[in-house]
Subunit: 247 residues, 2 copies
C-alpha cells in the first residue's frame, strides 16, 4: 500500500492505529498484535512524509457519541459475525479523512468487504478521495498476510495454508466452466474440512458489488470469500472473479 | 446567517435544500414551504459566491446507504418526537461539509438542539470547521421566524405569539431568582395553556450542553425550550440562560 502511494502521490501519510471502535467486547482488541518498532522499520524503505499515530483519548474522548454507518453492505459476511465492525471502520476512516484530507487512500483487498464499505462511504458522503485497492500479499505457503497470523503456532500456520488452497480449488472450478454458486461453495468447504484444525465461519459466493449471496448460477462479477477459525484465531481470505475477463 | 458569513469570511456559499432524510414518513416533507424565487431575492442584498442547490437524486441516489449518527444529544427533545430527524441532519450536514469544504458554517439558534448536535458531530469527527451560531430573528409579535410559519392562518399567527411570551415569562421568573426547574416549566406551560389553539409537545429545562432534563435546581447554563402544535403545524422556540452572566 505504501509503495503504491509513493508511486501515485507526491506526499505519503501512513496511519497506524488499532481502532477500538471496530472490536466487539468478546473480540481480540486486548491481545491484537502490535509492534510499532517493527512497523517503523518496515516503513523505512519508503518515502513517508508523516506517520499519523493517534491515541484513543484523541480519537474517542470521554463523551464521544458520533458514528458513521453504512447500512447495506455492512450487514452481511463479516458484518454478520462482527456486528460493530463496519460502524467502527466507517467512523475511524471518515475521521482520518477529515484530519489528514488525503487525495487518495489505500486499502488492502484481503479485507474485501471493508474495501467495498469504504468505497460506499466515500461515494455516499461525497468525500473527494480516490480509494485505491491493493492486492493481497501472501506468505510462501499461500497464507494471506495479516497481523493476526502471529497468533498462529507453526502447526497452525501450516494448517492455515489450506484456506488459500481451498480458494484456488474454487477458482479452478469456475475457470473449468462451473457456474453453480452452491457447487463452488461446496468445493471450497470440502477442501477446508480436510484440515481438522479449521472451523468454518462462512464460505460465500456473492455479487462483487452488492454482496448479495448467489443462488443458482453466478453473475459476471463475484466475490468468493471465507472466514475460518483456527483455535481462537479468526482468518479471512477471498478472491474476485470477473466472468467477462476470465480472471 | 448570511450577513454574519459576509462579515467573517472572504467567500460565502449558501445551501438551499429541503432534506428528505430528516423527515419521517408522517411528517410534512410534501407540503414544506419552499419558494426559491423568494429565497434568491432575499439573498440579493448579500455577497454570495455560490448557491448550492443539490437535487435529491444527487444527495441520495438509488442504493444510498450511509448515515452519520450522533447518539446522545440526538435522543431527547426533538429527537424523541422526531426519531429520524438528527440522523438526517447530521448526514446532510456532513455531506455538505465534504462537498463545500467551508472554514465556517452558520446555524440558527432557533434549532438549538440541532446546533448542539452539529457542533458535536464536528468535534467528534474532527471536521476543521468553526460552527457559528446566529440569534433567533423574530416577527414583531415575538414569533420566531420559521418556514413553517407560512402554514399559519392570521388567527393562528396571533395565537402562536404566546409561545415567545411564555418563554419570556419563564426567563423573568429565573431573573427574579427562581431556581427550581419544575416551577419554571410549570410557568411556561401555564402561559401556553392560556391559548386554546396550542397543544404542548414538550416544555423543557435542560443543561445547555448535555441536554439532560433538570430536576431540582437549575445548573449554571441551561436551555429552556418548547415545542407546540397549532393544528398540524409544529413550532419550536427556546432561550439559553447563563446564571453566571445573568442573561
Amino acid at each position: 500500500m505504501v509503495a503504491e502511494a509513493n508511486k501515485m502521490c507526491t506526499h505519503t501519510v501512513v496511519s497506524i492505529y488499532l481502532n477500538p471502535a471496530q472490536f466487539a467486547k468478546d473480540e481480540d482488541l486486548a491481545t491484537y498484535p502490535k509492534n510499532l518498532q517493527h512497523d517503523l522499520e518496515a516503513l523505512s524503505q519508503f518515502q513517508i512524509d508523516a506517520i499519523f499515530l493517534p491515541i484513543d483519548s484523541e480519537m474517542y474522548p470521554r463523551g464521544y457519541s458520533t458514528y458513521m454507518q453504512e447500512t447495506k453492505l455492512s450487514t452481511v459476511l463479516e458484518g454478520r459475525s462482527r456486528p460493530l465492525f463496519f460502524q467502527g471502520v466507517a467512523t475511524v476512516v471518515a475521521k482520518f479523512f477529515n484530519i489528514v484530507r488525503p487525495t487518495h487512500a489505500f486499502f488492502g483487498e484481503k479485507d474485501a468487504q471493508q474495501l467495498l464499505v469504504v468505497k460506499k462511504v466515500v461515494k455516499d458522503m461525497a468525500y473527494p478521495i480516490d480509494i485505491i485497492s491493493c492486492p493481497i500479499i501472501r506468505h510462501n505457503n499461500g497464507l494471506a498476510m495479516s497481523s493476526r497470523n502471529s497468533y498462529l503456532s507453526k502447526l497452525e500456520q501450516k494448517a492455515a495454508s489450506i484456506i488459500y488452497r481451498s480458494l484456488q480449488d474454487g477458482k479452478n472450478l469456475i475457470i473449468s466452466g462451473e457456474r453453480n454458486a452452491q457447487t463452488i461453495r461446496d468445493q471450497i468447504t470440502q477442501t477446508i474440512m480436510q484440515e481438522n484444525l479449521l472451523r468454518i465461519d462462512y464460505v460465500s459466493v456473492t455479487d462483487a458489488e452488492t454482496l448479495v449471496e448467489m443462488s443458482g448460477n453466478i453473475s459476471n462479477n463475484i466475490l468468493v470469500s471465507t472466514a475460518v477459525f483456527l483455535g481462537k484465531t479468526r482468518l479471512i481470505d477471498n478472491f474476485s472473479y470477473s466472468a467477462s475477463s476470465n480472471k
